[in-house]
Assembly symmetry: C2
Homo-oligomer: 343 residues x 2
């Protein structure tokens, strides 16, 4: 059993930082694409055996130091009653995005064991199949990001529909964000009870709002969900890409054990602002740098590790791995971390 | 003749900040949509009479304090030999994006009077028709942003093709960026000679790269283009949205008279970092805030003006105005600025 990842989450001294990659169970792996040929994305998410099969692939094939359960942040709105589809080349789409007041009122509250039992089953099965080789991470989407998807219906350039609600009807926005914070927080607690040894909150669209809206609509609910999740006793990782300016505020409000750092943020700068005695950091190699020749990947990964300084650091990319990255380049990244020693 | 805008560019004392809006000649105006019905986007850009008609609309209809010539940043790659189309709902597309070495070699160097004479004609005509009412702004896209479009073929979520070139073949990237810096810089000089009283460089995708790539591939060429443009004697505005962390470096490298501030950046923070004695700032109301009721627009605009402090500030949005904003809300923003007085 390698405890490296959990030790780093707790900022204990380690011989080298652990490494995993966001979206490591993903399309860059031929073995993932083989499973994906047999089942569509949502079937994979909804079938514990398939979800666990791809969850384990990067552990077996690349040797990462942690597994993250294969799932999707949009399972929570789906469990609240929204119809979701995920098509190749289009991405996730809600068939009936939230627009009128009635759309908001129709949403169900979610009891994790009820609407999201299949994710918990997948975690239980994954823990069994991992048999202690590496720790297992659970995750969920943060309230603002989920609400943005639920209103837009999918991804967006300006998120103008979701942001429009913030100025046109702030009470309605606060109402839904509060419900989502509680739903997400209890979902993460249930994930820990089902076997997740750490959980990550993804606030993928936190950068879509400016500082004032961030402090009113994003951070309080990210904090509420994270603090609720922490009651389960496992380390909580908070990743709010595009909001690197707010690291100090995010650390204070969420009481996170680990902050994810995006590739837009300078690693050394993040480390100076958030000392390893207070919070661990996770990140942050630019996923596009995995297109570089392996020797360059190795050199840039080592520079990043130097910048974070070793202690209280979990090596990762600064965003999800891209689907057309060669497996050998992902391997070069993981190898570079595992061969590094703090100087 | 109102000199307010040019005085603010030069950081001279003014009774109140001037105001204009990025994309102010745009689809939110019914009068613009009427012209657009008669001619497609590229015909409007390519026909000085039509370009000038829509350039003047926000001056006549909303009372902004500066006009910006109606054009597009992609006219430069187009003049270098690339075939462009702009379709409703799709956005700009190059038919043959740069991929193989030969695609880069085939690009022509541009002499502004030659390939871009129609933009210069539009500027001359606009100056004549404005008859001194408000100053006229010219503009161009910055080298990295143009190269990113030329490689991707259009907009992109991750800009992974353009960023891939930066790690796979840095010398080829530097070669094209240098050619673009010279093309753009001379184009802006020619615009000033044709009548532009200030020019703005848009590095719209500067936020698509992390700090290390920004310093190697973005900033040096943004600076080269800006410094070349400055030789014409008119104020140079540099707008690099998504790179608020680098304001000090951008100011130093570009020697810009004015820095554009995006809506992601806190106005007061930007002003503290860049004092009004050194560089003027332009921005930065979140365009989505124009969905708010006019009373809220007024209050937030006044707070923004307070945060910038009056001196050396040009009021603007922090990004282009959105097409579905009511005209009365755009008017509320402009009115709020024109009624404000520094306290």
């Amino acid at each position: 059993m390698s405890d490296l990842f959990l030790q780093a989450c707790r900022r204990e001294p380690v011989e080298r930082p652990p490494v995993w990659m966001m979206r490591q169970a993903g399309r860059y792996l031929p073995e993932y694409r083989a499973v994906r040929k047999r089942a569509d994305f949502l079937t994979m998410v909804g079938t514990p055996e398939l979800a666990v099969e791809v969850t384990l692939q990067p552990v077996d094939l690349i040797g990462v130091d942690a597994a993250i359960i294969f799932s999707d942040i949009l399972v929570v709105p789906q469990a609240m009653g929204m119809t979701l589809s995920v098509e190749d080349g289009v991405g996730p789409r809600f068939h009936h995005p939230l627009r009128a007041a009635g759309d908001f009122e129709r949403l169900r509250d979610v009891a994790p064991e009820d609407g999201l039992g299949y994710v918990l089953d997948a975690l239980r099965l994954a823990r069994r199949e991992l048999a202690g080789r590496v720790p297992l991470i659970g995750f969920a989407g943060a309230p603002w990001t989920l609400m943005a998807y639920m209103i837009e219906g999918g991804g967006s350039k300006s998120f103008s529909l979701a942001k429009r609600l913030l100025v046109e009807d702030p009470p309605r926005a606060h109402g839904l964000l509060g419900r989502l914070a509680d739903a997400v927080g209890s979902f993460l607690v249930a994930q820990v009870e089902a076997g997740a040894q750490a959980v990550q909150l993804f606030d993928s669209w936190s950068g879509a709002v400016g500082p004032q809206d961030f402090r009113e609509f994003v951070l309080p609910y990210l904090g509420r969900a994270a603090r609720l999740a922490r009651t389960a006793g496992a380390p909580v990782i908070v990743f709010a890409p595009g909001s690197g300016w707010a690291l100090e505020e995010i650390a204070a409000e969420t009481e996170a054990d680990v902050l994810g750092i995006d590739w837009q943020t300078d690693a050394g700068d993040a480390r100076r602002r958030i000392p390893p005695t207070r919070v661990a950091l996770q990140g942050n190699l630019d996923p596009c740098w995995l297109y570089a020749p392996p020797a360059v990947i190795r050199e840039r990964t080592h520079r990043m590790l130097d910048d974070f300084g070793g202690r209280g650091h979990i090596a990762n990319l600064g965003h999800g791995i891209l689907p057309d990255v060669p497996v050998s380049h992902a391997q070069a990244f993981v190898d570079a971390v595992q061969q590094w020693r703090a100087r």
